[in-house]
Symmetry: C2
Subunit: 540 residues, 2 copies
């Protein structure tokens, strides 16, 4: 097995998506038998994966788009083990990729070459829950949905929710600063994360007593212990914020303290059909005004997204359309309407959700809201979930879009912030641009838009029968330039990863990028933490 | 005038409060006539203050406790001027103190020796307001209350509110990560600040075209332009977070973008009397449950605080007590009850406020809440403000406590986070400790507690006839040790400043402190930004 380990000359599949070649950093060490022996001694045989088949899921991302070539994946169980293995990797200059649920969408969670994967999968314990204040402390590998269920049994809920909740880890959520479906109400992780424990690649303080681990001093001086559950703490720079969204390039998060929200006594969910995108934004404004403090989510999807989800996923239907199968509309191939706009359904759908403490009050507010939007024509059809099961099924329509896109074939994903009122113009402009170049619906290319409209966040996706460099070069840098011109962000929530590391300057100026680099160098002088990701290489 | 400028040998008054001497850093330059001439040429004569009388308010803090000895205060009007003056100070190694409204409570906003004061007072313009999304962009020197009025005229409100709102600047609020009265509802500035523009002491990127200023490149490479109004932006490290709460030690914030909240259609405010501290926390839990999403503030003050405010401030009364003057109770000297507990009134008061979109719903919720807390005995008396004027007058009782304390004499202020349920035990323990050492109520020493109980934040204050080192040595390090032992924070919101720079390690471990130092060194290699503050000196 170890014979197969050698210089990683593999050209990562991901390079196809970059327009730029990434070269392996020759300063990094290469895994040897001795290294594997050390890891096995530290973690036990069960904590070290070297079998090529077993390594495959560690090497390949959720989209099957980025494929690395690691020879070893580690599954530590404790902070002390993480600290010890980072000490070792640092001394051997072995590059490291932290991996949570591996649901990231920008190629950040898998190796580019032969980086060591450090998975948090075996670190999934809840460490503490305060039933009065709702503060939760968990190891970084706890799965978001399990934590939400745990909190739910105690009258609380996690302040974030997203389509990947069944597999993503809380440490991965924090590392990507995941936004998700309820940010509009519960805010970002920069506000709700109360504390973090992070293992740094480099020791920053004298070693504490041998074997002490954790605590203030922090093992051998590389454990940054900021694991508090205080709502307020202004003692020096708020260092934890640096790691929220750092995508594993500054250290490995081993535990997270987070403020849960009280579980709402009353939940309502409406699915609405809107005749145009301006109608969607009008309904959003009305929702803000009339649902006020109970509004908990506002999502939108265009009609092609609805069709994709119902066509490609088992049991998903759009209750505003007659019969699950009949909705193919215009009659495109493969059981889905690949034409745009003429699908015999509304061009846009919205999900509007409320969370409140009083069902009567919430219902009254929802009724008045629905009257208002139906009255002014911003909504032409709608349905209110009558049960939790119906609500789940409506959510599945929205949350299934990502998965449906991946099942359909190749997909180019962009996740941008733009001024809400004109957000959809990018979808239309790109659709026209691609069609004009022969990549229209007739060629099987779909340009679709959906996302967290309450936060000004558009998911722009291009679905195609196969990956095609010609198609890609029509999309990039066009999309980034468009977003930059409109003062948007080229990554609202998915992050930069490998996918956009060369594109950071579309959203951040040279002073900001240089400050990021210097912080990276201070924390990780050898650059072993998740290399090639997030920061563009310094110009020569 | 310039003849009086020389080596600052002045022993700052603040040293008395530190138990530790601070020595002027001899590497810093000293202001010369040439420097003043440069500043006058850059800012005009009106932008440069050198007259000793006119300098006095720049040298002295709000509590009149920290007094510096600057020879020059600057009042730039634009980011370009700030950039230019920092370039100059950097080249001359002149130390700099950024100053906003100078309402900070930890000696951070005034010079320790002869540092140059850079005031944001002349930078108070609103730059942009989006009437649909409620995003506001303003220069750093805009006064919080003016911004709230500006937003109010457009249907929005600032997401933070605090007693000093009439004088504090938004840049100062961000630099101290101010919490305030409504954090329980609108969250911390780490969540609501969308963007910042910061001038760094050191250039980090090549100079842009001469005179270009602002923009991506940023003047001469020291303008960090993160001034976006996007709700979501995950493009690299979230650098703005570093400056939120950095207390001027990393650069000068010149502009702030912030998410305003919709102004509530309905506001209610109750003042409640509670028979004990456990009753206060019981009422808090009930408020959380029954007021849910409309709860916007939960404050508490003990009876001595109420007495202080009514005794020392014009027109302030406690509506739950009969007649303004009669409430002196126990009959202590100076028109106030200096005894504890026996003041003929309830031992604790609470303010409970709601912000909602529907007055009927909110009233129903408040009525049910009041029934519940009166029913279970956690509240024994209460009043609901019947008008905005009454609400203002109740708020004045709570917000006036700080000012009343300062008027009464010397005051030692501590601002800690502790587990809510046992928070008041610190007040009682310290009261007993001081009384036992001869610093009881009969000696004119009051130990009082109030604060943002909804956030676990206690303001512990010791009021005394005069500052006394013997008294101080009974308070410190006792308070810090107590807080550290209970896993609290020695500064919930006021920050570290000069007051607690030597005490940071009560709340942060050595790895964290070292990482802060390294970040400071990367951004400010000569240490000219607000020296002697926040970070303890490196052990020799
Ligand atoms: C169906 C689907 C829906 C999604 N919906 C949303 C959405 O609504 N909102 C949103 O924001 N995102 C969404 N995402 C993407 C999102 O980023 C991830 O789902 C999630 O936050 C990543 O968590 P993870 O544990 O899978 O992390 P991974 O994918 O394993 O890792 C993501 C990044 O974080 C790093 N990392 C992981 N764990 C750690 C750690 N412990 N310490 C340091 N670094 C670490 C990795 O190196 C990598 O760079 C979605 C993804 C899918 C597949
Ligand atoms: C009556 C009263 C009530 C208060 N209530 C609260 C409360 O409820 N919650 C709370 O959190 N605080 C409270 N405070 C303290 C609080 O920190 C300040 O009122 C406020 O946030 C500071 O703003 P300022 O403009 O006065 O800043 P200053 O006092 O001028 O400065 C504070 C710190 O920030 C730095 N600074 C100021 N401006 C800038 C800038 N543009 N760039 C970089 N650094 C800068 C200074 O160097 C200093 O270190 C209160 C103070 C008073 C007097």
């Amino acid at each position: 097995m170890l014979a197969r380990i050698g210089r990683a000359t593999c050209v990562s599949a991901s390079q196809r998506f970059l327009h730029v070649a990434v070269e392996r950093n020759a300063a990094f060490g290469q895994i040897s038998e001795k290294d594997v022996a050390f890891f096995e001694q530290l973690l036990g045989a069960g904590g070290v994966v070297t079998d090529p088949d077993a390594l495959e899921p560690f090497n390949r991302d959720w989209q099957k788009k980025y494929v690395g070539n690691t020879k070893v994946a580690l599954r530590p169980r404790t902070t002390e083990q993480v600290s010890e293995l980072l000490r070792y990797c640092y001394s051997r200059r072995l590059a490291v990729v932290p991996q949570g649920g591996n649901t990231g969408l920008v190629g950040g969670s898998v190796p580019v070459f032969d980086e060591v994967v450090v998975s948090t999968a075996a670190m999934n314990r809840v460490l503490e829950f305060d039933e009065v204040s709702g503060t939760l402390v968990a190891q970084a590998g706890a799965v978001l949905q399990s934590l939400d269920e745990y909190a739910g049994q105690r009258g609380f809920m996690m302040p974030l929710d997203l389509g990947a909740k069944g597999s993503c880890h809380i440490g991965g959520n924090v590392s990507t600063n995941a936004g998700g479906l309820r940010l509009v109400r519960y805010g970002s992780l920069h506000g709700s994360v109360l504390g973090l424990q992070v293992v740094l690649p480099q020791p920053l303080a004298g070693a504490a007593g041998a074997g002490s681990g954790g605590g203030g001093g922090g093992g051998d001086g590389r454990v940054l212990d900021l694991l508090r559950t205080l709502r307020k703490d202004n003692t020096g720079y708020d260092l934890k914020q640096l790691f929220i969204g750092a995508e594993g390039t500054l250290g490995i998060i081993t535990a997270v303290a987070i403020q849960c929200a009280p579980r709402p006594a009353s939940v309502q969910l409406a699915l609405l059909a809107c005749p145009s995108f301006p109608a969607v934004t009008a309904a959003l404004r009305t929702a803000r005004r009339m649902l006020g403090e109970v509004l908990s989510a506002v999502e939108f999807l265009d009609s092609p997204c609805s069709h994709l989800a119902t066509a490609h996923l088992e049991g998903v239907r759009n209750p505003l359309l007659q019969g699950g199968a009949a909705e193919g509309g215009g009659g495109g191939g493969g059981g889905e309407g690949v034409t745009h706009g003429s699908v015999g359904s509304a061009p846009f759908y919205m999900l509007v959700e409320t969370h409140g403490s009083d069902a009567d009050h919430d219902q009254q507010k929802m009724e008045r809201f629905l009257e208002a939007v139906m009255g002014d024509g911003s909504v032409v059809d709608g349905t209110l979930a009558a049960s939790e099961a119906q609500a789940k099924s409506i959510w599945r329509l929205r949350e299934g879009v990502s998965e449906a896109l991946v099942r359909r074939g190749a997909v180019y994903k962009y996740d941008v912030s733009l001024p809400t009122s004109s957000m959809y113009e990018l979808v239309e402009a790109l659709r026209a641009r691609l069609a004009a170049a022969g990549f229209g619906a007739d060629a099987g290319v779909l340009v679709v838009g959906y996302g967290h409209i309450g936060d000004g966040n558009l998911h722009l996706n291009i679905s195609a029968p196969r990956y095609d460099d010609g198609l890609l070069s029509l999309i990039e840098p066009y999309v980034y330039e468009y977003v930059s011109r409109h003062n948007g962000s080229i990554s609202a929530e998915h992050g930069i990863g490998l996918m956009k590391a060369q594109c950071l300057s579309y959203s951040k100026g040279p002073v900001a990028v240089e400050l990021m680099r210097r912080i990276k160098e201070v924390v990780d002088p050898y650059g072993i933490m998740n290399p090639y990701k997030v920061l563009p290489p310094r110009p020569a």
